[in-house]
């Protein structure tokens, strides 16, 4: 079993390099999310809207950053806050690289409370698609099998 990670200010999170976004993925995300805005799925429509072709849902890119955060926090950790601004459009073929940097660490209730900056870069463009911040908890010590919180 892997030992517990102790976070420090300045630690780099990731990179998580995602496979290139595909048009099929945008159709799948539309179906799974219920967001059927045709700018994500119909090229003709997106061109008429002045976008030059379909663009990815901002929430899809945010989900990639969410994966980075949940993988970083680990099974014993939990995401507490997560916010982003959508700053650049993502298109089919783009490779998204998610990264972060720890900006604060506190110990509270036997856990590490980690504050970080996060971002998703569009590989090869020098541009960020989203930038934001997050707070997550991570265990201070090795845990047994993580127990599921009681539901309602």
């Amino acid at each position: 079993m892997a030992s517990v990670r102790r976070f420090q200010v300045g630690d780099v999170l990731g990179p998580l390099v995602r496979p290139p976004v595909t048009k099929t993925q945008l159709v799948m995300y539309s179906g799974a999310s219920g967001d059927f805005n045709p700018i994500h799925t119909v090229d003709e429509y997106a061109r008429e809207a002045g976008l030059g072709g379909v663009i990815a849902h901002g929430m899809l890119t945010m989900a990639f950053v969410g994966q980075l955060l949940t993988e970083t926090a680990g099974a014993g950790g939990a995401l507490k806050r997560f916010g982003v601004r959508f700053v650049e459009m993502v298109r089919p073929g783009d490779t998204i690289v998610c990264e972060g940097r720890v900006t604060g660490v506190a110990e509270q209730g036997g856990q590490q409370v980690v504050t970080c900056d996060v971002w998703a870069a569009i590989e090869g463009s020098g541009k960020h698609a989203v930038i934001g911040q997050a707070v997550f908890t991570a265990p201070l010590q090795e845990e047994e099998t993580p127990s599921q919180e009681d539901g309602p």
Binding site: Q25, I39, Y45, M62, K80
Partner: protein, 144 residues
């Protein structure tokens, strides 16, 4: 809708909508975002019930703010924030509402843009908050 008629809706909230969290919906969402985490797919790995990915709650039905008409195709998502109180699990029954909390105007690259800020909340059957969100959208087709 004009800026003034948007502003008239500030403070209004939708009626809470009952959302039943289905296993299939979580699996389909995990598949779409391509996140291989077994907690989103395999009940045994998840210890009983599937866990929803952190952005899943944006896809729930929060109802409509009375009197607010949004041009679906003209909306751009500008920002999104989540505050988590506990994870969402399959089998959860959540009551979700949205409230328009701010409307403001900015001059941007595409001309005049109207920003709408919504606060959304999902609560469990006992009324405890499960996740809160703040969502900022830009309305490009706002009239004068």
């Amino acid at each position: 809708m004009s800026l003034e008629s948007f502003r008239a809706c500030i403070g209004r909230a939708s009626e809470p909508v009952k959302n039943e969290i289905e296993k299939g919906a979580i699996r389909k969402f995990a598949e779409a975002i391509g996140d291989p985490n077994p907690l989103y797919r395999d009940e045994a790995a998840a210890g009983g019930r599937l866990v929803a990915p952190p952005t899943f709650s944006r896809t729930l039905d929060y109802g409509r703010v009375p009197g607010l008409e949004l041009p679906r195709a003209g909306l751009i998502h500008a920002g999104q924030e989540f505050e988590y109180f506990r994870p969402i699990y399959s089998g959860d029954v959540l009551y979700c509402h949205t409230r328009l909390v701010d409307v403001f105007e900015k001059q941007g690259k595409l001309g005049r843009m109207v920003f709408l800020v919504f606060e959304m909340e999902a609560r469990d059957q006992d009324g405890n908050p499960v996740v809160r969100q703040k969502s900022t959208v830009i309305c490009r087709e706002a009239g004068d």
